[in-house]
């Protein structure tokens, strides 16, 4: 029973073990599950062990038992795109109403979520018609917002009403905020800081731990055993280099700065520099990038165990990276191609990472991302990515 469901969960990327599946069956056999709602809570609490997968689970559950749309790999990009477009268009509701083909007064009654859902549906219709597919014709037409147009107004988390169906609960996607993939948002800063706190240096094991020495010695029946601890080394120095040119980076610059601002106390020193797209002869200390330049050569003066963290989408025209005089700024004439500069930095600082807000799945489509990824270990700017980046920065030599 429910084997398909189990495998769907697994394929969706939720780590589930066969043992827990058997436990679920034990619950079923004991008659603990008498309705779909029971099944939803039982299966989730038994199979899914972390809240970050709750959102995915909700989607799979809704799909399996209701035929809702499966989690869409491009879902996020679409979300963002829709949101951006709507933000712009909302300032001119009339134009939006015309473009979406609905009445302006009707538009006013929709919540932003509904609007975006509606917009996405329309967008899908559009692509399908272009591709000549038949799947969406028919399903799309009946109601303005289709199956995902449920009105979340009345049913929120923790409601006490008894008549919520499990499907509805699952389709609410109330755990969306907990899912850890996707770029970092301000809301996740607290959680992300915890990952940064792992950036603590440790020295060699050269301190005697008196208490556990006594304990171990007693345990050895008097045979002396000395236990050593790691001594704390001086705190880390960090250089943060941020690509703040271009609108593609705008949403992330502030998040990352806040993040490091909050974590500042644990670093000995943190310096922030700015660049646009990639690094040529200079980095700038000021965000406007013209007042306080610092030549890349001067970075050799920093201590080599300083941690270098670069943030950028690494997406540009290949010549910007590879050619001499590659900069798109006409006043910036350069002697060496940018890629040489990047190599210089990665050789100067052996602990360095490049954080990229673009989703990993897109990296292969941009040649400059792969090129830079060969120079710096590159991680996605997400909580998971940050965790891996911190691990990379703390690697011993």
């Amino acid at each position: 029973m429910f084997v398909d469901f189990f495998y769907q969960i697994k394929e969706a990327g939720i780590p589930v073990s066969p043992t827990s599946f058997l436990t679920l069956h034990r619950a079923l056999r004991q008659g603990l599950v008498s309705s779909l709602e029971d099944f939803y809570t039982a299966s989730r609490s038994i199979l899914v062990k972390s809240e970050r997968y709750f959102d995915l689970f909700d989607q799979v559950f809704a799909h399996h038992f209701e035929g809702a749309e499966m989690p869409d790999q491009e879902g996020f990009a679409l979300d963002e795109m829709a949101r951006n477009l709507l933000d712009t268009w909302l300032q001119d509701p009339k134009l939006l109403a015309e473009a979406m083909g609905i009445d302006e007064s009707e538009l006013k009654n929709m919540t932003p979520e509904e609007l975006i859902e509606y917009f996405k549906e329309r967008l899908k219709d559009q692509t399908e018609r272009h591709d000549g597919g038949s799947k969406w014709i028919g399903t799309g037409g009946t109601s303005p917002v289709g199956h995902s147009g449920r009105h979340p107004g009345g049913m929120r988390v923790g409601g006490m009403s008894r008549n919520r169906s499990a499907i509805k609960v699952a389709m609410e996607r109330r755990y969306k905020d907990y899912s850890l993939d996707g770029p970092l948002t301000q809301a996740m800063v607290g959680e992300a800081i915890k990952r940064l706190r792992h950036l603590v240096p440790s020295g060699p094991k050269d301190r005697v731990n008196v208490e556990s020495t006594i304990y171990q010695t007693m345990k050895n029946a008097g045979e002396i055993e000395i236990v050593f601890d790691r001594s704390l080394k001086d705190r880390l120095k960090v250089i943060l280099a941020i690509d703040n040119g271009g609108w593609s980076m705008d949403p992330y610059v502030e998040v990352v700065q806040t993040l490091f601002d909050y974590a500042k106390a644990q670093f000995k020193d943190i310096k922030t520099f700015f660049f646009h797209n990639t690094i040529y002869d200079t980095l700038w200390k000021d965000a406007s990038r013209y007042k306080e330049p610092k030549r890349v050569e001067e970075f050799a003066a920093f201590e080599p165990d300083t941690r270098l963290i670069l943030l950028g989408d690494a997406s540009m025209a290949p010549y910007e990276l590879m050619a001499r005089d590659g900069s798109i700024h006409i006043e910036e004439r350069t002697s060496k191609p940018s890629i040489e500069r990047l190599k210089f930095l990665s050789e100067t600082f052996k602990h360095c990472v490049w954080l990229n807000p673009a989703p990993v799945s897109m990296w292969n489509y941009t040649p400059t991302i792969s090129a830079i990824g060969r120079i710096f270990p590159m991680f996605e700017l997400s909580i998971d990515g940050l965790e891996k980046a911190v691990a990379q920065l703390m690697v011993k030599n």
Binding site: L32, T41, S45, I46, S50, E51, Q186, I193
Partner: protein, 285 residues
């Protein structure tokens, strides 16, 4: 022991605890399956309170093991009081038998739950504070429902399988084998509607105007971006206590963006300054 859901001791909520239906189902399933229930969630969402509520409703004794960062599992199981024994052997003025080591074994919290006469609720609070060794060692105990006292070569078996409630603030991820043995639930932060009920439980007499204004202000403050520790239920309750204790306070002032006692809500200095800034610049209200 509870084996079927039709048993009379089903958990339905308690006097001081507002339970949502989903959580009640999960508690009941975990008790029936005899599996520990691991609760995660933001601090202040009532993880610890749940264990108190279960114990109260099912009228079982509650045993609380507060996990500390340096804790070893053996401390939670039993302690061999060598010092008292040494003392007794030198001065010999106690009724204990010095040659009988068992007299000097004291049960820890888990040991107490295992040897208790009735089924107990055992709350293992903030397990993520301890290192992973603690969790790994506990796996065996959870699996076997027994442990050995090495000093006297005796095995303590659980007379009644306790109802395990384990909480974690998710500072660290728990190990996979550990998670595999638990049922899991994440307590989401209550929405305003739920929060109103929670407040009603805590302050039955509370003035409606104050409740509405305080909740509105509280949720606005929670939405502040880039705050490390967002205020939770516990902070709200203390805050309301402070507000209602202040004779000069008028609830309508909250709506105008005058928020007193912010220190109760924001306890990290950076968060406090950020919140104070936002409030004074009236960006929020």
């Amino acid at each position: 022991m509870t084996t079927t859901a039709s048993d009379c001791n089903l958990f339905t909520g308690a006097k001081r605890y507002v339970l949502d239906e989903e959580l009640a189902r999960i508690v009941n399933i975990s008790m029936a399956l005899e599996m520990p229930l691991l609760l995660k969630g933001e601090p202040g969402t009532g993880k610890t309170m749940l264990a108190h509520a279960i114990a109260e409703v099912l009228q079982m004794p509650l045993i609380i093991l507060n996990v500390k960062s340096s804790m070893k599992l053996v401390e939670a199981l039993y302690q061999y009081d060598t010092l008292t024994r040494l003392n007794d052997s030198r001065f010999g003025d106690s009724k204990r038998d010095v040659s009988n080591i068992e007299d000097y074994i004291k049960m820890g919290k888990i040991g107490q739950a295992f040897t208790a006469d009735a089924r107990t609720v055992l709350l293992i609070d903030e397990i993520d504070k301890a290192d992973s060794d603690f969790q790994d060692d506990m796996l065996d105990v959870l699996d076997q429902m027994e442990f050995d006292i090495i000093e006297i070569d005796k095995t303590i078996r659980a007379r009644h399988r306790p109802v395990f409630i384990i909480t974690s603030n998710a500072k660290k991820d728990l190990s996979d084998p550990f998670l595999g043995r638990c049922n899991f639930h994440h307590i989401a932060f209550p929405d305003p509607k739920m929060m109103r009920q929670i407040l009603k439980v805590h302050f039955p007499e509370l003035d409606n105007e104050l409740t509405e204004n305080a909740i509105a202000a509280f949720y606005k403050l929670r939405e502040l971006e880039a705050v490390e520790k967002r205020p939770a239920t516990r902070e709200l309750i203390n805050w309301i206590r402070a507000l209602s204790a202040d004779p000069d306070f008028k609830p309508s002032r909250l709506a105008k963006g005058d928020v007193p006692f912010m220190g109760i809500l924001f306890k990290k200095s950076q968060d406090f300054t950020r919140a104070a800034n936002a409030v004074s610049r009236k960006r929020l209200f």
